[in-house]
Amino acid sequence: MLRGEAITRTFGGITALDDVSFSFAAGKITGIIGPNGAGKTTLFNIITGIYAPTEGKVFLEGKDITGLAPEKLARMGMVRTFQGIELFPQMTVLENVMVGRHTKSKSGIIASAFKLPGHIREEKNIREKALSWLQFAGLGDLADQEAGSLPFGRGRILEIARALALEPRIIFMDEPAAGLNSRETRELAGLIRKISELGITIALVEHDMELVMDICEEIMVLNLGRKLAWGTPREIQENREVVMAYLGEG
């Protein structure tokens, strides 16, 4: 599904990622873990087009997507969420999700300004679809609230719902459980499974080991910019190097 080949990225003189290769299987939940500074977020940023890699290539279903801008990737069915959540705070919850339908609609400025018939139909469709995704994520009753007023945990879910509205083939989540309490984390786990059941490939960076071990089918471990290990949760838990890396950090 998504493949990375020998990805290297340097900032100034510092090598944040060094020759990392990987392959995320379609329909699976893959976790990326590693101590702080391992290069997880950098890797995410490279895959999702925020940075270009210094060296290496990224392929989405065999297509070279290296260095493509995020908006192009979105059209190819790739979407992500952010560690510090990036909502549109002055728009309603529903409107936030409606923006997620951007790639699935096409009325231009002229059609929108003159309210051409096709546009009206499309708007209706956008609204309905957005609402159904909100309900899917369990936020249906908050549709008309301003997004900026949501509690942090709800905001997190909203960001995921917004990403889902794109009907992506693969979704990247950057530390989705950060800042959530244990009840919210459980709900999140449920939601992620539900998403996976739709056949959407999921990749997530996460520090919450319990969550990762619980929901992920495959795990990649990064340390100091290099790939340390790859395997099922069980394999990773038994990997001595991984344990060493974490202990060394702690």
Binding site: P70, E71, V99, G108, K115, A163
Partner: protein, 322 residues
């Protein structure tokens, strides 16, 4: 959606009955200009209030529209409507082409680039004396006509210009409540999230810059045919700042706020009759105080203030009772 339409219809009705109460005086003339500035402020608001992109060179597009119309009709005898179309088209093309490099810039660089563009265009108005008449202006611009009907009085021009202004408002309102409008607001609030969701941020910025330019150019054409004379000073840097003030005072992102801002600033000499020589200071103060204390503009600021005041009064009353 329905509410928006109702609001618009109500506003349109108010606009169309106003002349009945004004009866041909100076105020009607001022209201004609309020219409022109409304178009300009709405145009800037689409760019600044929704997409969050500043432009300190709006007067250039306004002026280009006016000069295209003026030169083509006064010097080349072209039909005014055709000239208006050509003007709008030319400005559209210019803003579209220039938009690509300009809107790659952000913040202060963007402000400076648009400002520089405005100054360059202004210098061209002044220097191409053979075409534009230079600093002493271009006269002999005809009124607009439809068949044998000539828009030659304030009343006729009022309906003509407000017709255009209402159309501009309607289109802007439609736009802001659409897929495009949401994407614009998204750009403003989190550009990176908008991009990740597939919004082609750069292209959209360029498109809205173009729309803003075309709208301004049409306002310029209308100005030229109403006043029948144009000179560069009407399209200088200070006009761009005036437009900025209108949008800020009315409220960033509020279309009707822009109408209010345009009306207030055009009527300002009226409202501040005693301030004659002081109006430059009043401008400066308004800009500072509004951005500091009413960042949402009057349209949002006044209700907020009213609510706060009401709360205080209520709170105060409760205190007395206790």
């Amino acid at each position: 959606m329905k509410r928006e339409l109702l609001k618009f219809l109500l506003f349109a009705i108010v606009v169309s009955v106003v002349p009945a109460f004004v009866s041909g005086g100076y105020l009607l003339n001022v209201l004609v200009f309020v219409g022109i500035f409304t178009m300009l402020a709405v145009a800037l608001n689409l760019l600044l209030g929704f997409a969050g992109q500043i432009s300190l060179g709006q007067a250039a597009f306004y002026g280009l529209g006016a000069y295209m119309s003026g030169v083509l009709t006064a010097s080349h005898g072209m039909n005014p409507w055709v000239a208006m179309l050509i003007g709008a088209g030319a400005v559209g093309l210019l803003t579209f082409v220039l938009g690509f490099p300009i809107l790659r810039l952000k913040g202060h660089s963007l402000a400076m680039a648009t400002l520089g563009l405005g100054i360059i265009v202004y210098i061209f108005f002044n220097e191409t004396v053979d075409v534009t008449g230079g600093p002493s202006g271009l006269s002999g611009i005809p009124n607009l006509t439809v068949g044998s009907f000539v828009f030659d009085s304030d009343l006729k021009n009022y309906y003509l210009i407000w017709g255009f202004a209402l159309l501009a408002i309607l289109l802007a309102v439609n736009l802001t409540n659409s897929r495009i409008g949401r994407a614009l607001k998204a750009i403003h609030q989190s550009e990176v999230a908008a991009r990740v969701l597939g919004v082609d941020v750069h292209l959209l910025k360029v498109e809205i810059f173009t729309i803003s330019g075309v709208l301004s150019a049409i306002a310029g054409s209308l100005y030229a045919h109403t006043v029948m004379f144009i000179s560069p000073t009407s399209f200088g840097f200070n006009v761009s700042i005036e437009l900025l003030t209108m949008v800020i005072i009315g409220g960033l992102g509020s279309i009707y706020g822009s109408v209010l801002g345009a009306a207030l600033l055009t009527l300002l000499p009226e409202l501040l009759r005693t301030f004659q020589d002081y109006d430059i200071i009043v401008y400066g103060l308004l800009l500072i105080l509004m951005t500091m204390f009413m960042p949402g503009g009057l349209v949002r600021g006044i209700p907020d203030a009213a609510v706060a005041l009401y709360g205080k009064l209520k709170g105060g009353g409760a205190d007395v009772e206790r």
